[in-house]
């Protein structure tokens, strides 16, 4: 789609209209931003704290205590939390304040429309981009190119090509490539032979490492020592995982059906299978489950109260936990890795692949301790008999946090990944 079929004057006319549209869009974006800010503030008020016991009977929104016989509260249909009578909107078909506000924002921001549109035009990359916007951008870029000729001086390119050929033909380069391959082959073999219960995803890391080495070697032929160094590096990185892994197995051994243990063991077993699957096919299939969908998350650090505030907004397009019966009761589990005691969970949403949670979690931690920590947000299907099925996860690095005391750290949709270390690599850039 472009405007090339129009006459020059016609094109100017259309672009004028599109500029007017852009102006309106800017106003609309600002309005939506404010709306989402307000929603975030509302969510924060009802933030669940890690320190607070889950069994305690309090209203999930205002945190006032609920009685056993009087003022007992009732469960909100939207979020399944117990809500006191003051935090409800509507009479018969009431919702809690947050669920109500969430619904309002979805309508008023036009989010409903974008979602419907995305269902039909699923190929569209950016669902927020309108046709007018796209055309305008296209034309602005074209005009820019017309003014600034992008062709670089020709001699530069030739020079580069020549050097590249030189490098490619050099014996050292080919030699090092061979060495590199051998080294990795043996390394991987050793790894999988010696460590029977090694997590598969370690192998993925190694493979990645291989990739980077190759790239590196094209610039500067690596000597053997360099290669082995990089190998040991990848091995060292994997040690904490091994340790964690054995800890998990211990838990599994002592499992008595308690919820904590069950989730550990199931997580472990899926780790294993999931990662093997990802090596073989890279598609994340395991136990017949293909990880699909996205999770809406916001993470902010509150320096005032020294805590990490994690908002779990919603998930969408999840795969079925029980693919035969087409059922899913998803909930989200949060860990601040590597601390395995930091578990926080959302409510379980029944019979949905697009659950809305709107829950805020607080994790008390000093800012500097966030260094090296990662947020693991995994979605699980809560099946019968406490059987849990892994539906995907998001891993976010928590260091490199720059927003000081940000009042609003936007909710973003993150694609769910199968349980692999490659998922982490993908997010390191964010």
């Amino acid at each position: 789609m472009d405007l090339s079929f129009l006459k020059v004057l016609e094109r100017e006319r259309v672009l004028e209209v599109l500029h007017r549209d852009k102006h309106l869009r800017k106003i609309e974006e600002e309005r939506i931003r404010k709306m989402k800010c307000d929603l975030q503030d509302l969510r924060r008020k009802g933030a669940k704290s890690y320190a607070r016991q889950y069994g305690e009977r309090t209203c999930a929104r205002c945190q006032r205590p609920l009685g056993k016989f009087w003022n007992t509260g009732a469960v909100c249909r939207g979020c399944s939390h117990r809500i006191c009578s003051r935090c409800r909107v509507g009479v018969a078909d009431w919702k809690c304040t947050v669920c109500h506000a969430y619904r309002e924002v979805k309508i008023r921001s036009g989010e409903w429309f974008l979602e419907e549109k995305a269902k039909k035009f699923s190929a569209t990359k950016d669902k927020y981009e309108t046709v007018g916007e796209k055309l305008l951008n296209l034309y602005t870029v074209q005009r820019h190119i017309a003014v600034v000729p992008p062709t670089p001086p020709p001699h530069l390119e030739q020079d580069f090509r020549g050097k590249f050929r030189e490098l490619k033909n050099s014996k050292a380069f080919t030699q090092s490539m061979e060495d590199l391959k051998d080294c990795f082959k043996s390394h991987i073999r050793k790894f999988s032979n010696s460590q029977h219960d090694v997590r598969g995803d370690l192998l993925t890391v190694d493979l990645n490492q291989k990739g980077t080495c190759f790239r590196y070697s094209t610039q500067k032929s690596l000597s053997d020592t360099d290669i082995s160094k990089s190998c040991s590096l990848s091995k060292r990185e994997s040690l904490p995982n091994l340790f964690k892994k054995s800890k998990d197995s211990d838990h599994e051994g002592s499992s008595t059906g308690a919820e904590e243990e069950t989730s550990f063991s199931s997580e472990h077993s899926f780790n294993h299978r999931g990662s093997i699957g990802s090596i073989g096919t890279e598609s994340g299939v395991f136990e017949g489950i293909l990880v699909t969908g996205e999770m809406e998350l916001a993470v902010a650090y509150n320096s005032g109260s020294s805590c990490l505030e994690i908002t779990v907004g919603a998930c969408r397009n999840l795969t079925y936990g029980n693919s035969k019966k087409k059922k899913s009761h998803p909930y989200v589990k949060l860990y601040v890795l590597p601390d395995k005691n930091s578990k926080l969970k959302t409510a379980v949403k029944k019979n949905t692949t697009d659950p809305v949670y709107n829950e805020v979690f607080k994790y008390n931690i000093e800012r500097h301790l966030l260094f090296g920590k990662r947020l693991q947000a995994s979605v699980w299907h809560s099946g019968p008999l406490k059987r849990k099925v892994f539906l995907g996860e998001v891993l976010l690095p928590l260091d490199g946090w720059r927003q000081e005391n940000s009042t609003f750290q936007g909710l973003y949709w993150y694609p769910l990944c199968p349980k692999t270390e490659t998922g982490t690599a993908e997010y390191n850039g964010h």
């Binding site: 789609m1 259309v14 209209v17 509507g90 309508i107 036009g110 549109k117 269902k119 309108t130 087409k326």
Partner: protein, 218 residues
């Protein structure tokens, strides 16, 4: 001219054959003026209007409340040569004013084509549409009978209005009806349980109230 002091931004789009009066219709609606001159629209254009909407849905939680709605009314060229451009804009509109000329049988016959264009290019398979027969004031030149048009509208399950941009008759009503449909669609889209394509197991609809006929199958 515009500020962000509104509750909803609703994008509607007028379509139909060239010369049926889309531009004059929108001009009448936004400025309450009539321009009898025919100036063909180049590709696309839009007009804006701020209206106050009163929720009429008795079941909804928003019943009786009033909202400020900012309408963005897209005007499209009816001419064939702009077709690829205009149809591309269909997907960003929430509701449609499908217009024909009551004094032109051909423009009425083309309604069918416009409908299929909408199905292919709009944001969903069955978007909210209002059928509008314009130029109702030119009674002596009339070629399309009300019954005929009404039947077609019923076939598609959409409302039908006979308007006149010249006199302003029914213009507001047609737009407000469409706005009302879109406003109701929004509520439905948000409240409906997540689509269950394999089996629409009613038991899964958690606490779903009276199962009203779902218009929104998108």
């Amino acid at each position: 001219m515009t500020d962000g002091d509104y509750d909803y931004l609703i994008k509607l789009l007028a379509l139909g054959d060239s010369g049926v009066g889309k531009t004059t219709f929108l001009y009448r609606y936004t400025d309450n003026k009539f321009n009898p001159k025919f100036i063909t629209t180049v590709g696309i254009d839009f007009r804006e209007k701020r209206v106050v909407y009163t929720a009429s849905n008795p079941n909804g939680t928003t019943a009786g409340k009033t909202f400020k709605v900012h309408l963005q009314l897209w005007d499209t060229a009816g001419q064939e040569r702009f077709r690829s451009l205009t149809t591309a804009f269909f997907r960003d509109a929430m509701g449609f004013l499908l217009m024909f000329d009551l004094t032109s049988q051909q423009s009425f016959l083309n309604v069918r084509n416009w409908m299929s264009q909408l199905q292919a290019n709009a944001y969903c398979e069955n978007p909210d549409i209002v059928l509008v027969g314009n130029k109702a004031d030119l009674a002596d030149q009339r070629e399309v009978q009300e019954k005929q048009a009404k039947e077609l509208a019923d076939k598609y399950g959409i409302p039908y209005f006979e308007t006149s941009a010249a006199t302003g008759a029914e213009v507001d009503k047609a737009v407000i009806t469409l706005l009302d449909l879109v406003m109701k669609r929004m509520e439905q889209c948000v409240d409906k349980p997540p689509a269950d394509p394999a089996n629409g197991n009613g038991a899964a609809k958690l606490g779903e109230g009276a199962p009203d006929p779902k218009r929104c199958a998108c």
